[in-house]
């Protein structure tokens, strides 16, 4: 077959035929789909199951599957069982957008629980807004966002970063060095931290970013050590933390001489970093495996029973687990899975969760959450040393903080 044109034609025809056949099975499954009125309600779970974020996001998916299983065991929602449809965001933001579109348009899911990085959320946001579908996003983030089609079950800045700064200030740490991964969360968080510092008499000695996945920290550690800060505010994400904390330890930095406050290191990550490298350093979250209440005892036991005794539970997992329960509660209250009705019914829903009382703020679709500062223990768990006493009202645009006036413009 010498004719190139002929080859194209045959080839292209083949592919198009394939595409046509392939499209069919998926369509037929949606035809008999559940959202319309079968005995199940489909819900989407969209996390990275491959790529650099998989290690963190798989645990959130597991927690969400546990919640679905528990809700089904208790009779489901509106008399129907929940049926999870799992997709892989592959640590790639455009893939998140594509898969979100697939879950909404093809699978016709009632809602989606998904995302971890802010970049994945920003990529999914237009998809949910255009389709008027719901996303439950389970991770603490940088604030300055309030999409009418996203519920944020993790902390916004005034429930994590600002309490973290308050804690450092209380401890007399006024000279701070900022270290972060190079993407939207650390950069925006540091913008907020700088505004806070300027208003609270703290000095920022330096601000350094490394790409996601970066693992060479000797230069950066030298810069930090030479600047002699009282404390480091760490917004590194993922496996970079492993290299960073190892390097700090070998440079002789200890939790006593220079505490490093992290906002993206939880129980799961401590195991990866190695307890020896990070023991004694503070972290800021809303939930720890050690948080004491009946709901948490039950959650930790159920998680270990399902996934293994060696597994730990962490804040984003708990927020993902909560998201399923909060959505189910809103659906029960609304009497339907219809998005606008669920949104309307959600305001004011309050549940006792492993982290304590969680209430949905109907206006911002964020949660009232209790801020907790913890210290990493030699056994790899985190012990709470401070909490805000009561759930803090979410303020994603920091409107109630005069020093933050210029940030949200």
């Amino acid at each position: 077959m010498r004719n190139a044109f002929l080859r194209t034609a045959v080839g292209a025809g083949l592919v198009l035929a394939l595409a046509a056949c392939g499209g069919e099975p998926t369509e037929s499954t949606t035809g008999g789909g559940a959202a319309a009125g079968g005995d199940t309600i489909k819900v989407g779970l969209l996390h990275s199951l491959s790529g650099t974020m998989a290690i963190s996001e798989v645990t959130v998916r597991d927690a969400e599957l546990l919640a679905i299983e528990e809700i089904n065991a208790a009779g489901g929602v509106l008399g129907k069982k929940l049926e999870p449809v799992v997709e892989d965001g592959a640590s790639d933001w455009p893939t998140f957008a594509e898969k979100a579109n697939k879950l909404i348009s093809q699978d016709k899911v009632a809602t989606v629980f998904g995302g971890w990085t802010s970049a994945s959320r920003k990529a999914m946001l237009p998809v949910f807004e255009r389709h008027k579908a719901l996303l439950w996003y389970p991770v603490q983030y940088e604030g300055l966002e309030s999409s009418p089609y996203i519920f944020y079950t993790g902390a916004t800045t005034n429930q994590q970063i600002i309490p973290g700064l308050d804690y450092l200030k209380e401890q007399g740490k006024t000279k701070i060095f900022l270290v972060g991964s190079d993407y939207v969360f650390p950069r925006t968080a540091n913008k907020i931290i700088k505004a806070y510092a300027a208003a609270n008499g703290m000095t920022i000695l330096g601000e350094e970013y490394t790409p996601l996945g970066h693992t060479e920290y000797s230069t950066l550690t030298n810069k930090v050590v030479q600047a002699k800060p009282d404390a480091v505010f760490n917004t590194l994400n993922g496996d970079s933390n492993v290299a960073f904390f190892k390097q700090l330890k070998s440079a002789g930095v200890t939790a006593e001489s220079m505490p490093v406050l992290s906002v993206s290191v939880a129980e799961e990550e401590v195991t990866g970093i190695g307890v020896d490298n990070i023991v004694g350093h503070p972290v800021a979250w809303n939930y720890y495996q050690t948080t004491e209440n009946a709901a948490n005892t039950k959650f930790v036991a159920a998680f270990k029973a399902k996934y293994g005794a060696a597994k730990v539970t962490s804040d984003p997992m708990e927020a993902g687990y909560n998201a399923v329960y909060l959505w189910a509660e809103a659906v029960k209250k609304a009497g339907t899975t219809e998005v606008e009705a669920v949104k309307k019914a959600s305001g004011g829903i309050a549940l006792e969760r492993p982290e304590g009382l969680v209430t949905i703020d109907g206006e911002t679709q964020h949660m009232y959450k209790t801020a907790r500062i913890g210290i990493i223990q030699p056994d790899g768990l985190i012990k709470e040393v401070w909490n805000s006493g009561e759930p803090i009202k979410p303020d994603p645009y920091l409107k109630s903080y005069p020093w933050a006036g210029s940030l949200a413009s």
Partner: protein, 360 residues
């Protein structure tokens, strides 16, 4: 399928090759499938995905031209794809923002619009840049390296480094480029709601027609004197030089054309998929497309197009059916095809065809 060996006797004067109706006829058939059948059969979501694969096919066509025909293994086509995509993305962002700033600049702490962005308000300028920027960069790069007789693995590594550098540059300049997030959340595409089914349908037709035009163009180029010269450069650059041609010029022109194609693909990709980010133009996506071209068959332009569409489709299919294991399957498929058929799928089709001819 039997009347194939009706070739003119070798002794006949080299006038016009007899017109082969099969190629154009099959091309027309594919065009009908693409422009009539697919839009009728596929739901909007699937049609959107096909449109995305077709943008990849445009990049692959350029790779087929540069690598398959010209022997230039370019591992950095993502750079040109990205340049085209960002040019389009910047225009759409500014158009949506009106008098204000694009959303990501607000949360990145940028207070005034960077001067680089200002001219992209003008749609004509933005569309011109889609072609001009990738073309100019490829021309400059080509002029510099091909004159120095940089080729083979050195050229491949150079283009790959370019892709890696581009990603670092984009990620580091969050206020200017949107950082890792890239540019997303577009509302309007030249007066249309970008998410509307009618707009997406129109974009599908646009990308299909653009691919068709570029394919015919590339095919004509391949058949022309220039195409023969390009093949000659691929197979014996020094001999071509001794014959009095300048291989550097031939290669630069081809490389520039392939870059322009990637730029156009990037610009079409943005309204179809709704995002452009560094992850789409780094080393990995650039390599994936080269692998796709290899799978389809790099020595035929059709193979490049086929490979890209097939890869896009396989990626979606495997990841939907087996979200936990799809990457392994995709890898296995690549190894299988490349291992068993170095000339790709088109090569398999070709040899099947030849066997038939011999048997007949």
């Amino acid at each position: 399928m039997t009347a194939t060996l009706e070739k003119p006797p070798v002794t006949e004067a080299p006038v016009k090759e007899p017109r082969d109706w099969r190629g154009p006829a099959l091309f027309a058939l594919v065009a009908v499938i693409g422009l009539v059948v697919m839009p009728l059969v596929l739901e909007p979501f699937r049609l959107g995905l096909l449109a995305k694969y077709l943008t990849y096919a445009i990049v692959a066509l350029g790779i087929g031209l540069a690598w398959g025909q010209g022997g230039m293994l370019t591992l950095g086509q993502g750079v040109f794809f990205g340049l085209g995509g960002y040019a389009m993305g910047m225009h759409l962002k500014l158009n949506d923002a009106g008098d204000g700033l694009p959303d990501f600049m607000v949360w990145s702490g940028v207070e005034t619009l960077p001067a680089l962005w200002e001219p992209f308000r003008n749609p004509v300028f933005a569309i011109a840049m889609v072609v001009v920027v990738p073309g100019a960069i490829a021309w400059l790069l080509g002029t510099l390296v091909f004159r120095q007789r940089v080729r083979g693995a050195y050229f491949a590594i150079l283009t790959q480094a370019l892709a890696a550098a581009m990603v670092i540059l984009l990620v580091g300049q969050q206020g200017l480029t949107g950082g890792t997030n890239g540019l997303t959340n577009f509302f309007e595409f030249f007066g249309q709601d970008v998410a509307a089914d009618s707009t997406q349908r129109g974009l599908y037709f646009t990308v299909a027609i653009v691919l068709g035009i570029l394919f015919v163009g590339a095919w004509q180029l391949q058949r022309s004197r220039f195409g023969r010269l390009l093949l000659a450069v691929r197979d014996g650059e020094d001999r071509v030089r001794f014959l009095g041609y300048n291989p550097a010029t031939v290669k630069t022109i081809t490389f520039t054309l392939s870059a322009v194609m990637a730029g156009i693909a990037g610009a079409l990709f943005v309204p179809i998929v709704g995002i452009i980010s560094p992850a789409l133009l780094g080393v990995v996506p650039s390599l994936e497309l080269v692998v796709a071209v290899a799978i389809g068959g790099r020595f035929a332009l059709a193979g490049a197009v086929l490979g890209a569409i097939l890869m896009g489709y396989a990626k979606t299919y495997f990841s939907e059916e087996l979200p936990d294991a799809w990457l392994y399957l995709q890898g296995a498929l690549f190894i299988l095809v490349i291992g068993l058929a170095p000339k790709g799928i088109i090569g398999i089709l070709g040899s099947l065809r030849r066997k038939k001819e011999v048997a007949a």
